[in-house]
Symmetry: none
């Protein structure tokens, strides 16, 4: 490891998680947890129904494969798809009679209900939901800092021991997350509002584009892109999530439908007036005052709700300084730039390049620690690069 | 303007717009147009109901104030709020009997209807709507490159002369935009789908957060932030926009409500089964199959609609093949990789590298044309790189 994980700040301090930690499911979340724990010296054992998926996570540095004679894990992290989470948790609780078991499924009430129905030993179980994700999935998308600064909801069962809860809280702390204890039902209502309702809204808006004309989609701007970004999500996963949280999501959608009906009534009234004489109604026509006020209230309410969203939790990537450099669109130029960044002795944290076919140059965005920004800019300018302010 | 506009490439070539150009309304759009035209040497005369607003735009470099003895403008750009646009256009058409007049209002059918009702001389009028904006408004937010690469819809009236249309097309070209001729009704239906519907959806989702618990808003993630970003928009402006486009927006919302009702019915069915025995229904229960299929269809339809949104610069969504390569976290390794991509004769379209301080290797994602993907993979493997499937 060339850079200690403590560089991010959030995960400084001694590691409290005791290994071996068994990670079951080496997708995005499992691999990311394995990367972070391994980087901090914890023994991580990787397991996945697909041996090649587990081997890939190992190759990426997320941990090791199981060996004959391994001791019982202290902690098992089940990072399986939501609809099999309860079954895998129950199997792990049965297989390791002293291990604490947690999961990362995005809906908590049904997992708990299934475990109760299966008469699992819930003294050693803590439901968990790290609020971290990416548009991409799989081990290759894994990052050791995926959880840094993110809320990690812990939902202990009534029978969960304080020691089990403390072990999972330590895990969240060690991964740089902000653990929050919540009742499973409270969690499910919260994610219905902040995660599942936005997903349904994005999908419904994006769905209307299927029958839009070519001319219409050509007018798409950043607003539409933002609103519909998450519409590109996996239907199979979302059927599991929405199905497992059906009642709270339905309640949120019913409230939205009531407001939507109000917007529709206002628009239909304004459209009717519009048809009356072929010219639009005056802003001061008495009949339309109520309709306009209703529209203004919906937009203003949205602004008020939007303002309640807290700022980004200080994760490491956002703390980087970004240095944009113009790169001529010619073979080898980008390689030369990166070689010269290396010669300047600067460690590149992230790099993003957009190639725009309409322009003779691209812009490479070099993300570096803020402390080295000035040195990098100076070094690149001295070598003739066009560094943007 | 310290930077010549031609640096961007899109606006290279001779200026075709003939001055003086009169800009009426020196907010974000008017000031941006003035900045771009002035930078290209066109004589721009600024006018605003607020003299201090016009003076500010002048100080920013967007043009000059009117003088005694000024010649009649060749072109008038009305960049006024939507609800007064038609009145200002009519006044400008009357004041300058030879000038071509265009506007930038985001709804086109009502402006045209009002001008017809006012018996304005439509031979010299071209409705316009540049699809450009920023979260900030006002002259200070103006940018000479605001319109670069953006669609600019032109809606000529039936009576508009070809010369008038050509003049406004030249303006859009000179500002680096991509002009598109469209019928006013077609335009209004298009923006109902790609702009007004997303605004209403964002506002409705964000509005639910007003009554959310502190615990719930603490779980907000990037998905919610993206979906609700535009909910922070100005209610007064949006009442004008939605009111002026009431019928097409209502049609789009009715279609969304129909789909929403389907989602609600599916969720209520799944929630009812859930209540039956306290444990969630099996994914294979016959009664729930239809409900789950309905949810999957809505999410899949959203993905399909989302995929129709063109790339940032109006190109078709990028169809590049992405080749992920593991890169050891050591100085010079990335430069060596890129040099070897160049040696293989492959043109890199996009590059994304994530440096993760917690892992011993990074993953460089090389985006290339699909036709060269196999060749690149082979060349890199031959040189010892670990190329992921």
């Amino acid at each position: 490891m060339s850079t200690p994980l403590t560089a991010g700040g959030a995960t400084a301090g001694p590691v409290r998680t005791r290994g071996p930690v068994r990670v079951v499911g080496t997708g995005l979340l499992g691999t990311s947890a394995g990367l972070a724990l391994s980087a901090r010296g914890v023994d991580v054992v990787l397991s996945d129904p697909s041996p090649s998926a587990a081997a890939l996570a190992r190759d990426l540095g997320a941990g090791r494969l199981p060996r004959e004679g391994d001791p019982e894990p202290q902690l098992v992290v089940v990072a399986a798809p939501p609809d099999v989470t309860a079954a895998v948790v129950a199997a792990e609780l049965a297989a390791w009679p002293r291990a604490v078991v947690t999961d990362v499924a995005s809906v908590k009430r049904t997992v708990l209900a299934q475990l109760v129905a299966a008469r699992a030993d819930l003294t050693r179980f803590v439901g968990g939901h790290p609020m971290a994700g990416r548009e991409r999935s799989g081990a290759v998308a894994g990052r050791s800092d995926l959880f840094e600064g993110r809320p990690w909801v812990l939902c202990p069962a009534p029978a969960t021991t304080p020691a089990a809860l403390a072990a999972v809280r330590d895990l969240a702390d060690d991964l740089g997350a902000a653990p929050l204890v919540m009742d499973a039902a409270e969690h499910d209502e919260a994610v219905a509002l902040v995660s599942h309702l936005p997903q349904v809204a994005a999908s419904l808006v994006a769905g209307r584009l299927r029958s839009a004309s070519e001319g219409a989609v050509a007018l798409a701007g950043q607003g539409l892109r933002d609103v519909t970004r998450i519409a590109a999500s996996d239907p199979a996963l979302w059927v599991q999530v929405l199905g497992a949280n059906a009642a709270p999501v339905a309640a949120a959608l019913r409230a939205v439908r009531t407001e939507l009906d109000g917007v529709l009534a206002a628009l239909e009234q304004l459209a009717g007036e519009d048809l009356g004489d072929g010219a639009p109604s005056s802003a001061h026509a008495p009949r339309s005052t109520g309709a306009r006020a209703a529209l203004a209230r919906v937009i203003a309410d949205g602004g008020e709700g939007r303002a309640r969203i807290p700022g980004k939790h200080g994760s490491a990537p956002t703390a980087y300084a970004v240095v944009p450099v113009l790169v001529p669109d010619a073979p080898g130029e980008l390689g030369r730039l990166l070689a010269e960044v290396g010669e300047a002795g600067v460690n590149l944290e992230e790099l993003r390049l957009e190639h725009d076919p309409g322009r003779p140059v691209g812009v490479a965005e070099l993300a570096v620690l803020p402390a080295v920004r000035a040195r990098l800019e100076e070094a690149l300018r001295a070598r003739g690069w066009s560094v943007q302010a």
